[in-house]
Symmetry: C2
Subunit: 311 residues, 2 copies
């Protein structure tokens, strides 16, 4: 009995010390946690824009009518990426920012407006990131933008997104030109045909220079004709480039169009991408459809056809 | 006596331990609170876009040559606000976004591109906020942008920044037109003069509609001629509108031009704003400088002159 009381008292007495010690321990731990959290997040919370570097982002571009829609549908079917329909917004934004940057080079900009060029870059990167991350059905996938002219801004985009990947779609300019004339309901004659070919030549030439400049880690050329004839080889290679796992869905994307792919209204290529990929190698339609077709002029005026091995 | 000592001892003994225990308990609780607050705020730091609503921002605009530079210099001298030189960037950005929004109204945009119009608004607001907050010499002051055409985007800007304040500078169009002709090195004749007056009429007409639409909580008209003749009255009233404290520096801004004001290179109004505000009420220079000046035509073609009481 005496012993019990003694122990109870002893325990009580110690318990207070122990409690105090325990509380102190908790305090030290809590404070350490707060301090650590604070220090590790400080840069982030002062500049929430600095984590841009971490972001993966995929851009699909090239001349129009070159399979950019097919490509984005394939990535959407893959499941890890959300490309969705053309954004329309990105080329418009980039063109405006690019034009402004040309008028106001960094030093001049700072002197004249007190604005840092770096700020505009960061703000633009975050604009793009934010709009893409909050798209309908995005669901936390890798962000992606498909807009034919977007690769022309590769220089800026690499700067904004060091982890960007660019897919450059290339297709025989003569099929592209024919498709363009049909799309724009223009007359099928050689003059119109060559005009479209020249546009094709210019956009492919400029995109190719950028693609070569930033190299194979950033930019991948995907030849449409190869994609449709040797689909698995091309896509397995592409998945490596994009650092994505292979997914068999890619081989029969047409089966997943309803569930996985947001088509967007009035996408002109929709009627084509809902079909299986078939060997749609050019049957040289232009020789029949453009009555005054003149191969010599084409060879001379459109050097990119030769570069890509189409002639 | 014994009793007292006993109680004192008892009280002392318990009191120290109890106090320590109590203090520790409070500390633990406080720390837990800090930690909880911090963790619950983490979402905020993940999404830096959510606190837009809180931001105060001031926009200074109106027709060019209407005292917008003087106004921004006054605010810069005040000390709580950083306006700095014209941003140039904001009108360019807003024009591009505005054009895009007109081409793609919200529902159509979402259907066609899977992009939410709200996302574009938020991204644009944050673009502006970020660029302005990171300007040279900004130093955590209230952000402000001075660009003559910026008030034309009041509708969008109110949407982006519910706490925005707009200062609409108005000055006699005939002085403005004369100043424009001088600035652009154009011939002083009635044809050129009226062309400039029509521009002045249009920008003031459109800005006035917006200013009336959003009301006196958002938009304040500052008449240049009143500012230079009754400076203190106008500025005290303005400070109330801006919810800023009065600062006597405002009455002699020319004394603080070096220390407080970032002039920016080749701002055309710089040579004027470094001088004290003097009674520069129009001496009707146009009647002398425009030889074929025709008051009747002006009265008929430029209705805003009458609206603002200049004729």
């Amino acid at each position: 009995m005496m012993k019990q009381i003694f122990f109870a008292k002893y325990f009580q007495a110690i318990s207070l010390k122990q409690t105090i010690f325990l509380l102190l321990l908790i305090l030290v731990f809590e404070n350490a946690l707060i301090l650590w959290k604070y220090l590790s997040n400080e840069e982030k919370s002062v500049n929430p824009y600095s984590n841009t570097v971490e972001d993966r982002i995929i851009f699909i571009g090239g001349s129009g009518r070159s399979g950019t829609t097919l490509m984005r549908v394939l990535l959407d079917v893959h499941g890890s990426v959300f490309c969705g329909p053309e954004t329309k917004l990105l080329p418009s934004l980039m063109s405006s920012i690019n034009y402004f940057n040309q008028q106001y080079p960094p030093d001049y900009l700072l002197q004249k407006t007190s604005i840092y060029s770096k700020s505009i870059n960061e703000a633009t990167a975050n604009f793009i990131k934010y709009v893409l991350k909050t798209r309908k059905k995005q669901e936390n996938k890798i962000i992606c933008a498909k807009d034919p002219p977007i690769l022309l801004y590769m220089g800026d985009l690499v700067n904004y997104f060091p982890k960007a990947k660019f897919i450059f779609m290339v297709r025989d300019g003569r099929d592209v030109a024919l498709s363009m004339l049909k799309y724009e309901k223009k007359q099928y004659n050689f003059l119109n045909f060559v005009a479209k070919l020249k546009e094709w030549n210019s956009i492919n030439n400029r995109t190719l220079s950028l693609c070569n400049k930033f190299g194979p880690n950033y930019c991948k050329i995907v030849v449409y004709e190869k994609l449709v004839t040797t689909k698995e080889i091309v896509l397995r290679d592409l998945m490596k480039f994009l650092e994505l796992k292979w997914n068999n869905k890619l081989l029969s994307h047409e089966n997943f169009m309803d569930s996985d792919v947001e088509l967007g209204v009035s996408g002109w290529s929709n009627s084509q991408v809902i079909q299986p990929i078939y060997n749609k190698i050019s049957s040289k339609n232009w020789t029949r459809q453009i009555e005054d077709y003149d191969e010599k002029t084409v060879l001379k005026e459109i050097p990119m056809l030769k570069y890509f091995g189409y002639v």
